[in-house]
């Protein structure tokens, strides 16, 4: 479905991604784990068109999307839940969700997706008239995910959905991620919480200072000594 072919991404003179390649098949949950500053968010931003790769290519359904404008990429079915939620604080929950469907014109289908999102996150339905800035951290994360789903993506890019959330909420969020996946959306998940990420993912990549250093099925990486040492806190 998505194939990233050895991309290099720069911030000015600093190279954030060094020849990163990956592949995502339809229906999978693929996770990228790595420490702060490893290049995880950069990767997502490059896929969703917020950054442009200097070298390499990104193929989505066989077509190159590298360097295309973000709105073209959203239109083609890739939605990005940015790091730190980034909800529109002075708008209501409903207005936030409406903006998620900004590029769509099919009113009836949008209405259906509203119901779907509210079904997935009943809390958002309760608070739909409330200003998004007054929601709790967990609810804001739900809103950020719901907003991205309103674009009806086929591939959902999630950037650290567990950041700053209580462990119980993290579990809820990951359960919902699995639910979204089982309804047919492919997911690329970027996480520092390697434990949780590996527990829901099919396959995983480990990224270190801009390079992919390990990849394999989630079970393989879960069992790998290297990953245990570096990210799972075990000895």
């Amino acid at each position: 479905m998505l194939k990233v072919d050895s991309i290099d991404v720069f911030y000015g003179n600093i190279q954030a991604l060094k020849g990163v390649s990956l592949e995502i098949n339809e229906g999978e949950i693929v996770t990228f784990i790595g420490a702060n500053g490893a290049g995880k968010s950069t990767l997502l931003k490059t896929i969703s068109g917020l950054l442009k790769p200097k070298n390499g290519d990104i193929l989505y359904e066989g077509q190159s999307i590298a360097g295309k404008a973000a709105q073209m990429i959203v239109k083609q079915g890739i939605s990005h839940v940015p790091e730190g939620r980034r909800i529109f604080a002075n708008m209501t929950v409903e207005e936030n969700l409406e903006l998620g469907a900004f590029l769509r014109k099919d009113k009836n289908e949008i209405q259906k997706d509203f119901e779907k999102v509210y079904h997935l996150f009943p809390r958002l339905h309760e608070r739909r008239k409330q200003l998004a800035g007054t929601l709790s951290g967990g609810e804001q994360q739900m809103l950020a995910i719901g907003r991205a789903l309103m674009a009806r993506p086929r591939l959902l890019l999630l950037d650290e959905p567990s950041m700053g959330l209580a462990p119980l909420l993290v579990k809820t969020i990951f359960r919902i991620i699995e639910e979204i996946n089982s309804s047919g959306t492919t997911i690329l998940l970027v996480e520092q919480n390697a434990n949780m990420a590996l527990s829901v993912a099919d396959r995983a990549y480990v990224i270190e200072s801009g390079r992919v250093v390990l990849s394999g099925s989630a079970e393989e990486l879960n069992a790998s000594e290297q990953v245990k040492m570096a990210y799972l806190g075990g000895h």
Binding site: S48, L50, A69, A70, Q71, I73, V74, K75, S79, H80, V81, P82, R86, I87, F88, A89, N90, M91, T92, E95, E98, L99, G100, F102, L103, K129, Q130, L131, G133, T134, R147, A148, A151
Partner: protein, 324 residues
């Protein structure tokens, strides 16, 4: 139901506006208002146009532009050239002022709107100064001594332009496009990742804002008998900025109220322009100390009359009004 109510509110305010217009028109034609008050009234309406046009750029789209006097100058000179040099009718001159300013907005907007916050502010400030310096050195429009312009601005013209500016900008704000602009103000990266073409919307808001500033320029030029480049210095830009900030960033009625209030203050202090700026500053400091969100915050005047079922309040983002 809500749509019905909104339309109702719209017609109610239209009726009120027309009643106000007729009352003032009668007062003018009967000679009850003397020219000093009439002039203040015109100035007020022109300032309202400027305030709402900058409100669209700063308050709605969140682009901190402080070169608005530049567009005012472009509109003023373009319309003055139309009437004085080319003997065109006033209506065409006003339109030409607006269109020229809009084109200037487009040319300036495309490169500078890539910049954010402070950088954009400096770039737009630079634009305002460039316009002033160019006008100062072009002999065709009179250079430093300026251009004499016949008095053509009348109450119906001023009022109609003001009303159109308010209606267009209010409708734009409430449309999908306006929503897109607000989302850029709230969080540009998130707006981008929602598939909103942020550059397009920023430039659109900028062009609409400069169009109305140009119209205001046309009205301004034909109200004051003479226009000079010094009328459009950066202090003028700050005057307009103050309307928007004082009224509350994001509130159009706030910008209108602030424009009215400060026009009254400055008109009665016209003989002492230095004191006027000190009073401006003191008013601003006091408002920012006691009402950091501006007079109305992000609220509109109408929302105070509406019964709100939604629970608002709670913790809000304190940083939301620091644009730069």
């Amino acid at each position: 139901m809500t749509i019905f109510k909104r339309i109702n509110g719209f017609w109610l305010s239209m009726v009120l506006a027309i009643v106000f217009f007729i009352v003032v028109q009668l007062l003018i034609s009967r000679g009850i208002l003397n020219s000093f008050y009439i002039n203040t009234l015109f100035y007020m309406a022109i300032n309202i146009i400027l305030a709402v046009s900058l409100h669209l750029i700063i308050g709605i789209t969140g682009q901190f532009s402080i070169g608005h006097a530049g567009f005012l100058a472009v509109g003023a000179y373009a319309s003055a050239v139309m009437t004085m040099k080319l003997q065109m009718p006033f209506s065409l001159a006003l339109l030409a002022g607006g269109v020229t300013a809009a084109v200037a907005g487009l040319l300036i907007g495309i490169p500078t709107l890539r910049l954010k916050g402070d950088y954009l502010a400096i770039a737009t400030l630079g634009f305002g100064e460039i316009v002033r310096i160019i006008l100062l050195n072009v002999d065709y429009v009179g250079g430093a001594s300026g251009m004499t312009v016949t008095h053509l601005t009348t109450w119906p013209w001023v009022f109609a332009c003001m009303l159109i500016a308010i209606i267009v900008i209010a409708n734009f704000t409430n449309s999908t496009h306006g929503r897109a602009c607000i989302s850029i103000r709230e969080d540009e990266i998130a707006a981008d990742s929602m598939g909103i073409n942020t550059t397009y919307y920023k430039v659109t808001a900028f062009v609409i804002g400069s169009f109305f500033a140009g119209i205001a320029g046309g009205l301004y030029a034909h109200n004051f008998y003479i226009i000079q480049p010094t009328n459009f210095g950066f202090l003028k830009s700050f005057d307009i900025l103050i309307f928007v900030v004082l009224g509350g960033l994001g509130s159009m009625s706030g910008a209108v109220i602030a424009a009215i209030l400060l026009t009254v203050v400055s008109t009665f202090l016209q003989e002492y322009p230095e004191t006027r700026m000190i009073i401006y500053s003191i008013v601003l400091i006091l408002v920012m100390l006691y009402r950091p969100k501006g007079l109305l915050g992000t609220q509109e005047l109408t929302s105070f009359f509406r019964l709100r079922k939604a629970v608002e309040g709670g913790k809000q983002n304190d940083n939301k009004h620091t644009v730069a």
